[in-house]
């Protein structure tokens, strides 16, 4: 894989991660703003919200790591 291809692969990964963050955030907002019908649904929704939040955090950290990789990429030197 050439340098340019590797760089573009990283950029695409960055783009996808950010899109997923946006979607997860939308979902999280929906979950948090909605009212559950019963306890069971509440538990499910809460777990999903926690999952979405954690995934956002992990994706964000992943993006940071990606950026660090990109900054030290040979194609940008």
């Amino acid at each position: 894989m050439s340098r340019a291809e590797d760089l573009s692969r990283h950029i695409i990964e960055l783009d996808e991660s950010m899109r997923e963050i946006a979607s997860l955030d939308e979902l999280y907002n929906e979950l948090v703003s909605s009212r559950a019908k019963d306890r069971k649904e509440l538990t499910v929704k809460r777990e999903e919200a926690v999952f979405a939040r954690e995934r956002i955090l992990k994706l964000s950290l992943h993006v940071k790591n990606l950026l660090t990789k990109l900054e030290s990429h040979e194609a940008l030197k």
């Binding site: 990964e13 955030d25 979950l31 009212r35 999903e48 955090l57 992990k58």
Partner: protein, 654 residues
Amino acid sequence: MKNIQVLANKVLELVSEIETYSFYKENLVRTMERLFDEYQRGRFTYFEYEQTLKKLLKGKSKEEWINYYNSYILYLMKRIEAYNSQIFYEAYSNQDYVGMGVAKAVPAAKPAVKPAPKRVHEVKPKPAPPVKVPEAVPEFHELEETKPEAIVEAMPEAAPARAEEAAFPEVKLVEIKPSVMDRISLFFRHMFAKREVEERLEEIKAARPIPEAKPEKHLPKLPLKAPAPEKPAKPAKAVSFKKRWFSFLWKTPKPTTPIEEAVKKPVISVLKKPEKPGVEFGKMFGIDYIINLLNRRKGVEFTEKSPEVLMSTIQLETLRRKAKPEISAQIEKITATALTKEATRIRSIMEKRKALKIYQPSFFGSFANISIKRISLFLLEQFPDFFKDLYHALRLANIKVLSNTYVNMMVLGVISSTLLGLLLFGMFFSVTALPLQQVFFRTFMMGILTGLAAFAGFYAYPYSKMKQRRRSINTNLPFAINHMAAVSSSGVAPVKMFRLISESREYGEVSVEIEKIVNYVDIFGYDVLTALKAVAATTPSYHFKDFLEGMVSTTQTGGDIKAYFSQKAEEAMLNYTLERQKYTETISTYSDIYTGILIAAPLFFVAALSMVSLLGGKIGGMNVNVIIVIGTYVIIPFLNVSFLTFLELTQPEI
């Protein structure tokens, strides 16, 4: 977390910009290569090749263009990093999921307004009004036949259904006490539930075996796709028959998990005829109708059930499936400790940013900028060298006022103090018995003097502050360098070392200068060497400037920074010790002078004067007793204070 979407969109814009610039860069390189190839093949003469190349590069070299693109891409990445940190911080500090709650109950009449999507078949609180068939049901029909990729495409269609649901008022539910009939029903339901489930599963298997989801590393198996039986005729009849006659005894058991329900739902929808909106004539007089009627008369409210898979679950699952396995694999490696660490890092930056004082224009400064700007500009044009020194002193003194604003303030201060002097001294001299000419002359002179004093004060203040800072830096520098040497010997990165020193606040103005280095790196994104150079250019202490510049040159020439720190620490301590020894010797000389002049001499004079006073007489026309009193209460204290002042002034900087 509403800001996250805004930030994510900004990042996406920046990413697309990066892509564009990467494309431009690649395009330039490719075009140049193609041009060179064509020249090699002999399609162009050298002159034509040169001309085309010059046109392509627009007067710059290839390296310059590539450097330009790279630096711009890196700049965009820095911006993305900042936005990403904000996203992380916002997500980390958000705890909204803790406050999620359950919808409250409402009177029985309200559920009829918005019937639950799938419960139309089971409970009919009001048979009369036409039931709006929810869009969620056909959704599952579509999903049955589609591939996993198509699920993703089908998702947006679910959104309007949710929007419609959201438009209705919330259904508030009340728990009801089960009647005798309900208890019997429950008993039979429990009895036959298992059997029913098994039968149905067999029917499904017979119709079409459930395809197992592909084993994915990080995604739990959630069979969103439910198999549709190919020949649903027979079982459909059986189910409808049972449903019709034993619906109140043998109702469809509620699935234990929403996923089971997801598997089951499409089957039901296929086996049964889709219910038409409105009221069916036959059902009007069925058992369901009678039970409903009785219940309605009793005022019993119906319990809302949610037998469907939550839309959020499907969306989440879709997102999880959509995610690339390699990204998911990398994400799964991220531990909670790493997240906490990152959060702490970002929080410290955010807190530091909050703690940073942004330049706030004072009223006096703003007024001076508005009113005196033209006069100041005129003066700046007329005497550039005079103000150049002042500007330099302002920077070295670390006065947080813009240079032009300071000049404006100075001019306004001089004018206003002159006017104030004229007013006050005019009033003062007017009440005296002086002639009018004298009053005017003296008032004018005093006004001018006040203005000059104000000017001198404004002009000298930065220099005085600069000297004060220099002294503080020189005094604290040996200890700060020792601290740095100790920290760097443990292998800590220079930025961390500077951060430690700046946070300690033990070294007076040295801490302030080092904090500038940290701010240049953390906030302005400078590299350490540039930050060191920038601070070295504005520090008032020559020793500190020398130290920073030495550090830069040691790093640039590949020297050992630890050895440099150790050497500098030794040098600084040696200098400090020597200066202190020198000063101690000087102090011992002063001590002898003090003993001779301010202790022995006064004693001798007092004793001699006492003897003279016994004899009587005067010295220089003054009574001896008066001389003793003046000497004791005026001259000796004055000399002592003068000596202390002398000591303070002659104290070396270290």
